[in-house]
Symmetry: C3
Subunit: 343 residues, 3 copies
């Protein structure tokens, strides 16, 4: 494909030779010859000098480079369009229900569904138009799902869950398992019934082997457009706002509330009943034991303001030295060493 054609397809401004042949898209770090690349990060600009790429996507105001460029107001977005130009998604398979699938008599499947082998859909479940259920997916009774649903192999959706449009569940994700609620009594541990459910709003995406538990009452809610990575645990009764990004292995204890566009780094955790404000960010491995204000950036355990945390932990290795210096000062001023209160 010629660079000029790509410029037209993406609506980009062309600078340089539009007849250059482009064979694929590639990241700048190791772009093969003939590829279109882009500069996600200015620190990578040096790489371009030695790159064998045929052309590069750049912001409108970036200085010219030796190789031809396409200019876009949002180069990353244009690059995504370029990826899709060279690697269009395969067409959805023709609608079909595999003969080994077991669809309950009272279940309703919208038109356009592709239902893979060994899929099971329970009684009274309703699934909208154009669903794709890969092999070995299990949808329990009474589940309600919108249009353009995609469930990868091995997904489990428990009874009564309510799922919006364009939701994607990756392989092995479990939606609506019982919340972890027990009452320890002298003669045993009593399970607390969980009569609530799970709501996944439109455009939610849930990672592989992640688990979203049902609420004791009402619903655990994952807000519109929120994306959740693999192996994340969302406990009973969490209320997750729209367009949050939750990285892998995060754990949210019961009744955690997240605002809009909250970002949680990998392996972060939030203990129960706290609220994370709009736009807040928690660093990877952060452990939140308090509310977090809107746009707060927190890190550490217990999580505090990330800058304070970085200053504190960067001093931490000096603690043994500090103890020695303090003793030296105490000696210099004639103070006896206090008996350690700790040992």
């Amino acid at each position: 494909m010629k660079l000029g054609e790509i410029a037209r397809a993406l609506g980009c401004e062309l600078r340089g030779d539009g007849d250059v042949e482009v064979v694929d898209v590639a990241p700048v770090e190791d772009a093969p010859p003939g590829t279109l690349t882009f500069l996600a990060d200015r620190r990578l600009a040096a790489k371009l000098a030695t790159s064998r790429a045929a052309a590069v996507l750049l912001p409108l105001d970036a200085p010219d480079l030796p190789l031809p460029s396409l200019r876009a107001a949002h180069p990353y977005l244009a690059f995504i369009a370029a990826i899709e130009l060279f690697h269009p998604s395969p067409p959805r398979p023709a609608p079909a229900v595999h003969p080994t699938a077991v669809i309950a008599a009272t279940a309703e499947l919208g038109p356009g569904a592709w239902i893979g082998p060994h899929v099971v859909v329970g009684e009274r479940a309703r699934i909208g138009r154009d669903a794709t259920l890969h092999a070995n997916v299990t949808v329990y009774a009474g589940v309600s799902i919108g249009d353009a649903f995609v469930a990868h192999a091995g997904v489990v959706v428990r009874e009564g869950a309510r799922i919006g449009d364009r939701v994607v569940l990756h392989a092995g994700a479990v939606i609506g398992s019982d919340g972890f609620g027990y009452l320890p009594l002298p003669d045993g541990i009593r399970k607390i019934p969980h009569i609530g459910t799970v709501v996944l709003e439109d455009d939610v995406e849930i990672g592989a082997n992640a688990t979203i538990d049902r609420a004791a009452f009402g619903a655990t809610v994952i807000g519109r457009g929120t994306k959740i990575d693999n192996l994340v645990m969302v406990a009973h009764g969490c209320q997750i706002g729209p367009e949050c990004l939750i990285a892998a292995q995060v754990g949210l204890a019961g009744s955690t509330t997240l605002g809009t566009r909250v970002m949680l780094g990998g392996q972060a955790g939030v203990s129960g009943h706290h609220t994370i404000g709009d736009g807040a960010q928690i660093a990877a491995k952060g452990g939140v034991r308090s509310d977090v204000p809107a746009r707060g950036v927190y890190a550490g355990y217990p999580a505090i303001d990330a800058r304070r945390w970085r200053r504190a932990v960067s001093s931490l290795p000096r603690l043994p030295e500090l103890l020695r210096r303090l003793r030296r000062v105490e000696r210099a001023v004639g103070l006896d060493a206090p008996r350690s209160e700790e040992e």
Copy 2:
């Protein structure tokens, strides 16, 4: 249902108008009109003043409130009974083995079993009375399971595992996978055979996508009544006592021993070959690298007594200030700054 009838059904004392109509149960935070609620936490008492609930479950000795109340020695337990009164569990499906299930000729299924579509039960597996195996469950050969077993969709029980009565396995849980044991040699990494198994005692419940590995020798044991949350990892050879509560994403390294009624907070970890005493509690994200005494309450990493830990980490952000103040004191007494031993 009238409040007086509920009082009789739950064996509670009635205070106020028994003719009040109750339509459902609900938590106090957002009880809709006409509901029965209860006060789990005295801090929520203020909420009752503005609650639209029709009635409330209270301890026998709590002061009277403007709305009618039911009194119970253990209000939470009575509330659970109330939940079950309004939301009785659906009856078990009539015994049946779905025609797509593959049950080995030498497997034994007790009476009353409901076996869902695409379930696989291996050779010589024995499962007791009233089992419920949801869709796509796989039970390998030689497994032995007691009565009233529930396995949700996608559960895998590996060969030879031994499971007691009334055990519940949530979707995607894996019981009896090989332990992670390898011997690094100059010419490669040798796998250590795991000839042991897993034992889940009576009334154990295992969360969604949790994994309980088989022992190298003998058995990994999960004690009677212990409840394990989603995405927990129990490694080879752990010995978990009865009635422990293990929150989500906890990881127990090989040969960890837990006593009776140990509680582990979410994302906590215990490194191998340590013993956590009866009634001990480890806070969320705690990392145990030592034995923990009975009834010890530990937090942090490495985990120490939780109060000591809280005091220490609350001082941590002052460390940079402390370094500056120490340097000021050194100057005041004429000591030169020691060359940092750390940088």
Copy 3:
């Protein structure tokens, strides 16, 4: 089996009575009578004095003990051979494709395959000789797999993944799910297409419910002989070297590079785009936010040299005491307390 026969079978030197009857192998901690045990750890030597074991495997140069011994240059390796002598792996089931398996017409299965019930293999997938696919495994279209492949129940391999020889995937593992890459825009969150794949080289083993994501471009690579434990997350674009050992619940963010024979402790995490050098070790729960040099041993969060970390955290509980002592010194030299910069 007589001890002398075992000595011959294992190629070990016999010291003591070769006619002793050995009935099984067992670890030294609780060896039943008549068993062959071995001393993995010199600290356990005292246990041998009271052991009822019939014989013990020892290094060539270890002092003699009251009970008969087998001597080997590498006793652990000889012990593994002894385990396999007493507990030979069951023979592979006779080649067969279960009638409920759904194998696409264009898929290719090598000779010797055992394909369990409800397995699904997609179009154009190629699987080598002697594969074992347990029940409910799903292999998407276009996957390529070498010889002697083992996939336990519920495994999912997404489209296009490339897998070498003798690879073992434990139950519920998900290979090749979409990487977690999104572009937040003012009007929503745009998914970044992931046109890359996953490569698992020869002799890789992946734990139960672990997830290995596909790369945005190119491939996420797990190097030859690397072993990955349960519930581990390997994000898009990671490059894992050969013969690494990655313990349970580790999380590797995108584009992490691991050298040869890196060892990561349980629940450790590495943030994106860092490199861990050959032979480096990260302690359990360590959080790596920087490159780690070859043979570095790191711990803590942010991870630093493990000895420095241990010294620092062992002083941490003394921080409140240290603050009091510093105030005492300030008073002694007539300095006023600075207003805390932190509160």
